[in-house]
């Protein structure tokens, strides 16, 4: 009952006309700017932050939450339409989402993404409202050893992510991990693999990787085929998902939501795993796995809600522990600081209006997204009618601007070019870039957590087995690898022998 009265308080705060308007404006601007290729959620929030300066803290946070959801969704839109993921979660959406767009089903992909995100947002809001405090306590059980084991499990997922050869997927993960070690070593400050070059001295930005390996490399691939590779025009009446597609998506949406909600709680940025985990799960559960990577709706209907639910529950460590789990949340802390709010354990008790108002506005933000984006789907799909000979020029210039705006560093644009050639080469040799991205994202966290865990245990590697949660994850990881690798080895052997 307390939950209901709390949500009631929240609704009273969030549903004031001004706050509704602000939430709407935030979602709208967030979507419009987030959809620009190369402008990820972090850049979008930083750009729009000054708009909230004049507001009272609650209103400002509500608007910021709107901007955040808008930016997230805008990013997914860009990666579905143009295959330009600006962050690691959008990489997963792009796999099947962009394939759907190329088959003329962009509207369906965007629609299911909006609907799925709304469902996920609704459920995650309830999870936060009901369980925020106890969940935060659980999250603290996770130390470096547990995170390392979790990341290991995540990498095992990545093996199953691949469309083709398992061996090649493993190699790609390793290459991603290797790329993540470029730059200064966290523990000693020594530079690694930078070739003495200043512009590599801080490592490689994930946004560069996304835009290079996917965005520009995709342009290279498309140009090979000329206009023939142009996106097909959607037949009338299929702009939004039909009933059969909706039915197909229900379970993936719910499973994705569950995965995302759980992983988002972890303060060490567990949410980044959510879309990958969901994609793998859907692929494993599907009757016909070969559809994945070729425009399977579950490939969007799972990961998108997972991402959104994770984005939402990652507010839990922020609001209850004061620990921002990722860069976006760190920026939210900055924003809160501007308004004199110090995120931490006391927020819930000392500022109940703000806390519950924010939670209610999360749900409202998700509703706004649906309201804003369903009508916009038509507009976005129309955008695809721009002839490709001009479209790719636009993509290139937006990627340039996006990369330059991250750090005002021209050399970053060249790195993006290099990564694009690398990505083009990968496909020429039958490798896929998606596992590489996951290896890149997890590799760095994995190495850091491994080293921290070993320093804490004073060099005793048994720490990963003695700690039950870590041990459980490692068992899962090994099981996943076995499940992933064995069939393909057997299949491979059969092939060899039947020849």
């Amino acid at each position: 009952m307390e939950l209901l009265s709390n949500l009631g308080l929240g609704a009273a705060v969030a549903l004031s006309p001004v706050n509704i308007a602000l939430c709407f404006a935030g979602c709208m601007l967030g979507t419009l700017i987030g959809v620009l290729p190369g402008i990820g959620p972090i850049a979008t929030i930083a750009i729009l932050l000054p708009l909230t300066f004049g507001l009272d803290p609650t209103a400002a946070l509500i608007m910021l939450a709107g901007i955040y959801y808008g930016a997230q969704y805008g990013g997914s839109t860009a990666s579905i339409l143009l295959n330009i993921p600006g962050e690691s979660s959008a990489v997963v959406t792009a796999i099947d989402g962009h394939e759907m767009a190329r088959q003329g089903r962009a509207g369906v992909a965007l629609g299911i993404s909006a609907i799925g995100s709304f469902v996920a947002g609704t459920i995650a809001t309830l999870v936060i409202a009901a369980l925020a405090a106890p969940l935060a306590a659980i999250a603290l059980i996770f130390g470096p050893a547990e995170y390392f084991a979790l990341m290991l499990t995540g990498l095992a997922f990545a093996v199953l992510l691949a469309r083709g050869s398992v061996l090649k997927a493993i190699i790609m993960i390793l290459v991603g991990m290797l790329l993540s070690t470029v730059g200064p070593d966290l523990t000693t400050g020594q530079l690694r693999l930078t070739f003495g070059a200043r512009w590599l001295a801080d490592g490689i930005e994930i946004a560069l990787l996304g835009m290079g390996l996917f965005g520009i490399a995709e342009v290279f691939r498309s140009l090979e085929h000329g206009e023939a590779r142009q996106i097909k025009e959607a037949p009338i009446g299929t702009l939004l998902p039909n009933r059969a597609e909706m039915r197909q998506s229900v379970k993936p949406i719910l499973r994705g939501t569950a995965l995302g909600s759980v992983l988002g709680i972890l303060p060490g940025n567990g949410a980044v795993l959510a879309p990958y985990a969901s994609y793998t799960l859907e692929k494993k559960l599907a009757a016909d796995q070969s559809r994945f990577g070729r425009g399977a709706i579950e490939g969007v209907a799972g990961p998108e809600p997972a991402n959104n639910a994770g984005a939402q529950t990652s507010f839990i460590p922020l609001l209850t522990l004061g620990i921002p789990p990722n860069a976006v949340m760190a920026l939210m802390v900055g924003a809160m600081t501007i308004h004199g709010i110090v995120p931490g354990p006391q927020i819930m008790t000392k500022m109940p209006e703000l806390f519950w108002g924010l939670i209610a506005s999360m749900w409202m933000g998700n509703l706004m997204l649906l309201v804003i984006n369903l009508p916009l789907v038509g507009l976005w799909v129309k955008l695809l009618k721009v002839p490709y000979r001009l479209m790719f020029v636009g993509i290139v210039i937006f990627c340039c601007i996006g990369v330059y705006s991250i750090n005002s560093e021209p050399a970053d644009i060249l790195i993006m070019g290099g990564l694009a050639i690398f990505g083009y080469g990968l496909t020429k040799f039958g490798f896929e870039p998606a596992p590489l991205t996951l290896g890149f994202v997890l590799g760095r966290m994995m190495e850091e957590n491994l080293r921290q865990a070993l320093m804490i245990s004073r060099g005793n590697a048994m720490t990963f087995i003695e700690r039950p949660i870590a041990a459980a994850f490692i068992v899962v990881a090994v099981a996943m690898l076995t499940v992933g690798v064995l069939p393909s080895i057997r299949r491979g052997r059969d092939k060899v022998f039947t020849e």
Binding site: I33, I47, L167, K168, I170, I171, L174, M177, L178, T181, D185, T187, T188, R192, L193, F195, I216, V219, S222, L223, E224, G226, E227, P387, Y388, R389, L390, F392, V393, G394, I397, F398, C400, I401, Y404, S405, S408, P410, I413, L414, M416, G417, A420, I421, Y424, K428, F429, G430, F431, E447, L450, R451, L454, M455, R458, G459, G492, K495, V496, E499
Partner: protein, 160 residues
């Protein structure tokens, strides 16, 4: 594999990619030679990258072996027109964005990139480049207040 002519190459794609991976792995291991690997308790900076690189090399070796025993794809053709023009565009953009600035960098880069497509129509491309430059300038510099130098010509003491 009963032929007397020794091992038959069955997958050129795997062979070449395997060889590239082995070479890259060796290169990385060599690059890391100056860094310490550390101990179990205090791992050095080279530990993880070195073993990752070695694992990649092993993966490459397996690919090379597989290329002899399992059928695979032939090497694909690289189409260089698109990449060449786009890379040139990126280099131009990177070289001119600081000085003389976006108003020069963007149209130049777009004009060059446009020729990456075989269907390029120069007149249309020029109009598109100019329109996009103006739109982006207004959007990023004025509406979004981003640090994007527009026109910087020290000789004319322009810094906009």
């Amino acid at each position: 594999m009963s032929g007397a002519g020794g091992v038959r190459l069955r997958s050129p794609q795997n062979l070449v990619s395997g060889l590239i991976l082995i070479a890259a792995s060796a290169f990385v291991v060599w690059m890391l030679s100056g860094l310490s690997q550390g101990t179990m308790r205090v791992m050095g900076p080279a530990m993880l990258p070195r073993w990752t690189a070695i694992a990649i090399g092993v993966g490459g070796l397996v690919l090379v072996i597989l290329s002899a025993i399992r059928d695979g794809d032939a090497l694909e053709r690289w189409h260089l027109r698109g990449p060449v023009f786009i890379l040139a565009a990126l280099v131009i953009f990177a070289g001119t964005i600081r000085q003389p600035g976006f108003l020069v960098a963007a149209p130049l880069a777009m004009l060059v990139a446009g020729f990456g497509s075989r269907e390029v129509r120069p007149r249309e491309l020029v109009i598109f480049a100019v329109a996009m430059t103006i739109a982006c300038a207004l959007l990023f510099r004025f509406a979004l207040n981003q640090a994007l130098p527009m026109l910087v010509v020290p000789a004319l003491s322009l810094n906009f």
